[in-house]
Subunit: 199 residues, 2 copies
């Protein structure tokens, strides 16, 4: 029996649009708990149509977390992150990370929930550690410059800072108002660098 | 066939020690993904022995998240959280929340990962919202006193503040050094109130 609705929709997908459906299902059911059958049902195309685009579930994961990692590592290469005082570069990175998290919310959510059971998940965790390490290095440089406080160990400060930023995946839901992202990025930057206390 | 090893261990459990095993399994497999059979295997006692202590899986969840909630709400009733300036009460709450998170790590981890599929999970989410609301009220009071900055909306500030504190469940692992918790609580308090910038 041929399911015509599935056949017809096959060509409607690109890897990118298939990825959007995949990431939603991975975030709902967990990567481990998602089967190719689940993906086929969610996309409304047959499993063989999915295999036309990718080799399988793990390649979809690699592409999805790769998109989040490209967004995050891209920040570190931006001019404002590579020139100037370390404290200003860090402030740029903090603001842009908040923006990238909001823009790529489902992809970053998936990245931050990766557990490490497969080679691709191990690779994702390794990339996350490498990213955290580069931010911690930048923070340490700003401490050496005398611009940031020296009474919090840079690695611990980085963890707390990124704990604050990454919490967006728990409570931020995109709305029609683009300004709301800037509003949140402003708050994150003020709080991270100036703290809650009135200036 | 009677599994003697299971029968013998039955009396070794109290609700509290059974809960410790349960929470570990819930955190590893997720609440939805855990069966009574999984709990029986992890505890090394029969399912009927577990039913001797509790009515089932959902009661174990209620007891476990209840322990986390008791710890968190208990903070709000401490003398230093009920008398004095709002900013000082908030600082006490922030420090103590970090300590309670570290002390009750598996229980708070479970609470923070609850999804809301059952009545008990819905209740837990409602309690979390009530707790966040009380902290946001305290923060707003400190803003009105002029002690905290007024350019971040109190609800958003509370979310970012708790994002930072709650991130402990992702990276903190208890060690033999009791001082490390104080070290982290100091860092959280300094960062939250004073920010990263050198004073």
């Amino acid at each position: 029996m041929v399911d015509n609705s599935r056949v017809q929709r096959r060509d409607a997908y690109t890897v990118e649009t298939l990825l959007a459906v995949t990431v939603r299902v991975f975030n709902e059911r967990g990567y481990d708990g998602t089967s190719m059958e689940d993906l086929s049902r969610a996309a409304g195309i047959s499993k063989s149509s999915i295999y036309h685009h990718v080799r399988g579930k793990e390649e979809l994961l690699r592409l999805a977390v790769g998109r989040a990692l490209d967004g995050l590592f891209g920040i570190l290469d931006e001019p404002a992150a590579t020139t100037g005082r370390a404290v200003d570069r860090l402030e740029h990175v903090v603001r842009r990370t908040t923006e990238v998290l909001a823009a790529e919310l489902p992809y970053v959510t998936l990245l931050l929930r990766v557990r490490g059971n497969t080679a691709t998940e191990q690779w994702a965790l390794q990339q996350r550690r490498a990213y955290d390490h580069r931010v911690a290095e930048l923070l340490a440089e700003a401490v050496r410059d005398g611009d940031l406080r020296s009474d919090i160990e840079p690695r611990l400060a980085t963890r707390l800072l990124y704990g604050m930023i990454n919490s967006l995946i728990e409570w931020y839901r995109p709305g029609p108002d683009e300004k709301s992202v800037q509003h949140i990025a402003d708050a994150v930057t003020l709080l991270a660098f100036g703290g809650l206390r009135a200036p």
